[in-house]
């Protein structure tokens, strides 16, 4: 059984019965190995479709997840259960519980180190005061607004006014928590939350691949939320300086908010300013100043990473890139693609109206970007497999379009691995307005393949 990965969350979905005899067969050695290599901030086992479990059954998953946590610092635990199952797990493990329990995947996402949720009002209750506080702190760190109920009576009363809260967190338990630096996305800014003493360890808890991917897909504003930082030493200063200098070719902006220098030498601030960091007292000074936010986070096309030419090896692998994209689209739409023409030029589209686009970058033995531009109707039908129901909600369609491009990226990765070419793929980015994409790839040559799906045009563009 393999984990389904979405938004940095890996989920196992066993069905039926979990006991000590059958559960080991859910996980082969290859499954465990593959899970350890996932780039995730949270690994959970969903109990949604489990009708019966005992401690021996859960232990098999706990053991495997603990190994993953020891290597990747990911948060581990179980999710999708009712009150009865929650109480059973607490009873099985008593004080030895060292994993987390999230009532649902929606609740788990609020606590995930990487989240793209908008700020949410979250009602929190747990009869253990330290659990309540831990949850509130984590939620706050992740950019949400936790509202704590101190007693069960208060919780039951508040719960009546459902409209006041986006999510209600109960029957949830935070075990030994992941150590990764929390990351959230607000508009076109990435916010990292750092706390306590910042020293050499910051480089171990910072997710470099996430950061690099964010730069590659066009994020230019990185905010370090440092309200809870007590002090930092020279190793941390060196880390931040290096981070800023390596992103200079992207013209990225780095900001500290809420950082106090009463216990940290003021000279460190000057050093960081020299490296390009800006300092603001309040997060809202940036987030609520739309003009400033736009200016700091804008994609600077001309100054972004220097444009590069396609390489011979990329052109050699072109059939694999096209095959990965076309077969994925064919699989998702159940239609056959017809190739119209192939040319090397700047991206030229006969029409942009009614089209959606998505891009995904790759790096490693080879680096570049695959762009897909497709009509709304094709995007909608190709995403239906990924959605539980047919929808016209553009946000949902763009979200599943990103997943579709992720699948294309995964397939390219697999196909190239057959030729011993190892690549990693970035976060996908989607464009409701294709003109924004055209701005980003202007003056950039690539291979453009025009295809037809069900008599509608679909464009594949490979560039660097």
């Amino acid at each position: 059984m393999r984990a389904v990965v979405k938004d940095g969350l890996g989920i196992f979905n066993p069905q039926g019965f979990l006991d000590g005899t059958n559960t080991p067969t859910f996980l082969t050695l290859e499954d465990i190995q593959a899970t350890k290599q996932l780039k995730i901030s949270m690994l959970l086992v969903s109990l949604k479709k489990v009708v019966f479990f005992n401690k021996n059954g859960l232990d098999v998953f706990v053991k495997m997840m603990t190994e993953v946590r020891n290597e990747s610092k990911a948060t581990i635990g179980f999710c999708d259960y009712d009150a009865k199952k929650f109480q059973a797990i607490l009873k099985f493990y008593g004080d030895d519980i060292n994993f987390s329990l999230f009532k649902s995947q929606k609740v788990a996402l609020l606590f995930a180190a990487t989240n793209k949720e908008e700020k949410q009002n979250v009602l929190v209750y747990n009869d253990d005061p330290s659990q309540r506080s831990s949850m509130a702190i984590e939620l706050f760190d992740n950019g949400h607004n936790p509202i704590m109920a101190q007693t069960k009576i208060e919780f039951d009363e508040k719960k009546q006014n459902k409209d006041n809260y986006n999510t209600i967190v109960e029957n949830t338990f935070l075990g030994l928590y992941g150590q990764k630096i929390a990351t959230r996305v607000t508009g076109n800014a990435i916010i990292y939350t750092v706390s306590n003493f910042l020293d050499a360890e910051v480089s171990e808890t910072f997710d470099f691949s996430y950061h690099t991917n964010s730069l590659n897909v066009g994020f230019r504003l990185f905010i370090f939320d440092a309200y809870k930082v007590l002090s930092m030493n020279i190793h941390a200063v060196n880390f931040f300086s290096k981070l800023a200098s390596t992103a200079a070719e992207y013209n990225a902006n780095f900001v500290f908010v809420g950082m106090k220098f009463d216990k940290t030498p003021i000279s460190f601030k000057e050093e960081l300013e020299d490296a390009g960091f800006m300092f603001f007292e309040e997060l809202d000074n940036i987030l609520k100043d739309k003009e400033l936010l736009k200016e700091l986070g804008a994609v600077s096309v001309s100054s972004a990473k220097a444009k590069r030419l396609l390489t011979k090896s990329m052109v050699n692998e072109l059939p694999r890139f096209i095959s990965a994209s076309v077969t994925t689209l064919e699989m998702m739409t159940n239609a056959t693609a017809e190739k119209d023409n192939v040319k090397i030029n700047e991206l030229v589209l006969s029409k942009t109206e009614g089209m959606l686009a998505s891009s995904i970058g790759f790096y490693g033995d080879m680096d570049g970007m695959v762009i897909l531009i497709l009509p709304y109707s094709i995007a909608k039908s190709s995403c239906e497999l990924l959605l539980d129901e047919s929808t016209d909600d553009i946000e949902l369609i763009l979200d599943s379009l990103a997943e579709l491009v992720n699948i294309v990226g995964g397939r390219i990765k697999t196909l190239l691995a057959d030729d011993d070419i190892n690549i990693s793929i970035t976060l996908p980015r989607t464009y409701e307005d294709v003109n924004n994409l055209l701005d980003i790839v202007s003056n950039t040559k690539g291979v453009q393949v025009d295809l037809k799906f069900k008599e509608e045009k679909f464009t594949f563009f490979l560039t660097r």
């Binding site: 393999r2 066993p14 069905q15 159940n334 497999l385 997943e403």
Partner: protein, 264 residues
Amino acid sequence: MITSSEIQTFIEKIPPAPEVLKETIAYIDAGELIKAAHAAKEDPALTHYLQVLVNKPIYGFKSEVHDVSQIFGILGLSRSKQAVYNYLLSLLSPSSWEMFGLSEALFHELQATLSKRWQDILHHLKIEDKEIESAVIMTPASIIVCEALFKAHQDDVNLLRSYKDIDLSSILLKLAGKSVFEISQDIAQTWNMSETIMTLIKLSSGLHSHEDETLNTLGKWLHLLLFYEFSQGVYIEAGLNDFIAFNPEYVEEISDEFMELIYK
């Protein structure tokens, strides 16, 4: 990946039940077990199948049973009919399995175990009905359907499922408008099986309900029984645990009773 025309071709290729089997079933339905055994003996493969089936440990016979008349006598009317239907289904199963880690022997083992446990459930529920007793044998048809339709698309399925927890039946329904259970119903129809059997196939999916309360309850038991078996180590390894979606809410009201019966 899979189109509705591929499904149609698959259904059209399902062979009708052989004359010998039709005759055997007709005699069983008429309560004529000796004549049924006589007809069954005309088909050596069926005879061999019955011999292997009835001598499996789950039936618990101390000495080996060989004669078809004796086998039918031991099994009785309902289970004899079930055994013939099981044989019919085995004619559809592939010679080598690719999508699922099954073998001919393991598939027969699954059929035998399901049949035996279904008997226990019906006994517990005090239900005596030949058609209902036979219903369980068509549920593994969905496995054969998936094997046949998806074996050429394994990579696509694996890739898709690494991004979304989606079962094969739902993929089929979304892409080609038919679930594996509906295709199993088509097979049952080709073999002139009764309305009760076809209804129970549908209900075993866990996605439907029925106005007849008894059939509705039986659908829940059947759905849970499938997942009890698919949770056994050997079938998890074969990939059967996640090929169709389990619906815990559907079986909630009977799960404690089921557990008591199975683990007693």
